[in-house]
């Protein structure tokens, strides 16, 4: 695109300002380090470097913590540490897939809805959001799991099809504000098409909302995954913190807490770090505070 060679001055976009602001937020940076650490673990598991033995029956029943089994073993002698680490990948996978797709769908539908607010297009989309929001979540998941014949992605589909409405409503509100601004009128005056205005002029100015919303959806998806797996509606052929907690419900009665604690602590750490990261991101990206 930039075929003409011109000495560029230092670019100071809103992004670089936001990045600078974030880098000075100590809580934000610490939480980011935690999140990145979890992400590395998830990558390691995905690439087959970590926790490959999560399903092997290795030791005896309910062994305590040792150098071989850091968190001990479960009822049938599997390594709890391996299982908890492996579950990190499951959580990340669900979180990323759901957050990315739900936010993208919400952004596009919310932008169209907001841009055409006051017309039948907006009415139809609002009605759709209202219908989806009014279905009880766990009933909806159960229905989808049943309809999708126990597919491992039933949980993802259910979360995406309900979580997008939150982002969509937020984006819609922002777009209604933005579409009256003069730079949008300028684009109309230039002759930019309606779709061009939505995708080139309006949506880029909602990215601060989308990024924050994606992190919130990410956390919500992880928490839902754990609960759904606990209820037997989530992960089918793999390991998840929710499944570990489900297993431990029998163990806790017998006074063995390792399984329960390992899953809860790891999940708590990730959710906490991600929430703090999300807050810091929100502060850094807020255009009223940036520019």
């Amino acid at each position: 695109m930039n075929t003409v060679a011109i000495t560029t001055v230092r670019r100071e976009s809103l992004w670089s300002k936001a990045f600078y602001k974030f880098s000075r937020d100590r809580t934000g940076m610490i939480s980011l380090v935690f999140v990145l650490f979890y992400m590395l673990i998830a990558f390691g598991v995905t690439l087959g470097w970590l926790a490959t033995d999560w399903s092997d029956v290795q030791g005896g029943k309910w062994e305590g913590m040792s150098t071989t089994y850091w968190f001990g073993t479960n009822m049938i002698g599997q390594d709890i540490f391996s299982r908890a680490i492996y579950s990190t990948k499951t959580a990340f996978e669900v979180g990323l897939v759901v957050a990315l797709i739900a936010t993208a769908v919400g952004a596009v539908i919310g932008a169209i809805s907001g841009f055409f607010s006051g017309t039948w297009i907006d009415e139809v989309l609002l009605w759709l959001m209202g219908v989806l929001d009014s279905i009880p979540f766990y009933l909806f998941v159960a229905a989808i799991v049943f309809a999708m014949q126990e597919s491992p992605y039933a949980m993802h589909v259910a979360m995406i099809s309900t979580f997008w409405t939150g982002s969509s409503r937020l984006v819609r509100g922002e777009v209604i504000k933005l579409r009256g601004l003069e730079y949008v009128e300028a684009a109309h005056a230039i002759g930019v098409s309606e779709l061009g205005i939505i995708f080139r002029h309006i949506l880029p100015n909602t990215t601060h909302i989308l990024l924050v919303q994606a992190t919130i959806t990410f956390v919500a998806a992880i928490k839902s995954e754990v609960i759904l797996s606990f209820l037997g509606l989530g992960v089918k052929d793999g390991m998840s913190w929710g499944l570990m907690i489900a297993e431990s419900s029998q163990e806790v009665m017998a006074g063995f807490f390792n399984n329960f604690l390992a899953a809860s602590v790891l999940m708590f750490g990730l959710v906490m770090a991600f929430n703090m990261f999300s807050d810091a991101l929100q502060d850094a990206l807020d255009p009223r505070k940036v520019s």
């Binding site: 695109m1 930039n2 075929t3 003409v4 011109i6 000495t7 560029t8 001055v9 670019r11 100071e12 976009s13 809103l14 601004l181 003069e182 730079y183 009128e185 300028a186 684009a187 109309h188 005056a189 230039i190 002759g191 930019v192 061009g196 002029h201 880029p204 100015n205 990215t207 255009p287 520019s291």
Partner: protein, 329 residues
Amino acid sequence: MSGQDNTALLEVRELKKFFPVRGGLLQRVVTQVRAVDGVSFKIDKGLTLGLVGESGCGKSTLGRAILRLHEPTSGQILIDGQDIVGLPRSRMGEQRRRMQIIFQDPFASLSPRRTVAQIIREPLDVHGIGTAQERERRVIELLADVGMGAEIRDRYPHEFSGGQRQRIGIARALALEPDFIVADEPVSALDVSVQSQVLNLIAELKKKRGIAFLFISHDLAVIQHVSDEIGVMYLGQIVEHATVGDLYSAPKHPYTQALMSAIPVPDPTARRTRIVLEGDVPSPMNPPAGCLFHTRCPQAQDRCRTTVPAMLNVGSETNPHRVACHLQD
């Protein structure tokens, strides 16, 4: 094309823009806001029509309706004799190249996530003018035209002051080489020291390129400085329309007289009578019967309350001075 004959560059005939007000359970249209209520005027090539009036009188709506940023309710907008009201999107595109707009608020008129070069190049991209290289070169020319250097092309709007942003907005408006520009209060958000720079830039563009302007402002000093003719708007209608000289030396309409008397005179010993208008501007949802101004007019008579005054020419045929007031009979 034409222009030698009687066809003006821009002619507006009986333009109306009403905004529906909805209410009740079924969101029916209960009433209309008559923002622009039957406005007619002509602008010739290279001339500037100034439009003054209080806030809320429909100046900006009129400017936007001419560009069809608000779809007119009725009336005609003729560009070189061709009516653009109701033109389909495909044919409106060519007309958009001929007319552009400069906005009031330079902080809202540039997208914060696009660079200066992207902003100025967009009109060229949309209309497919030139190759990529030519467009890049054109952006730099346009920046030079508004007195800014090429080195700012990759910077973002928030790095500039109000005056600089307004120049960038003007460069964007110039990119399509329009014949006609609506300047909607282009300096009222700027510091006084910067106002004159932007006004001089606009005057220069007018002289060098023969661009016609519809210059909207509430500042009588600014409008006197830039305009050839002036239209005075009140409640969505033009009540007086004359050349700058005539309007400032001999205002005919009581509303214009009241506006003129509010201009400060830089002479402490000068004696002048200020006409202070009573009350507020009536609501454009429910405009008064008869002359729109009779509720505040110090000289109102009985017929003003019942009969709508016609637009009269109190000047000559070659130098018209139109005014809508019963007192001119």
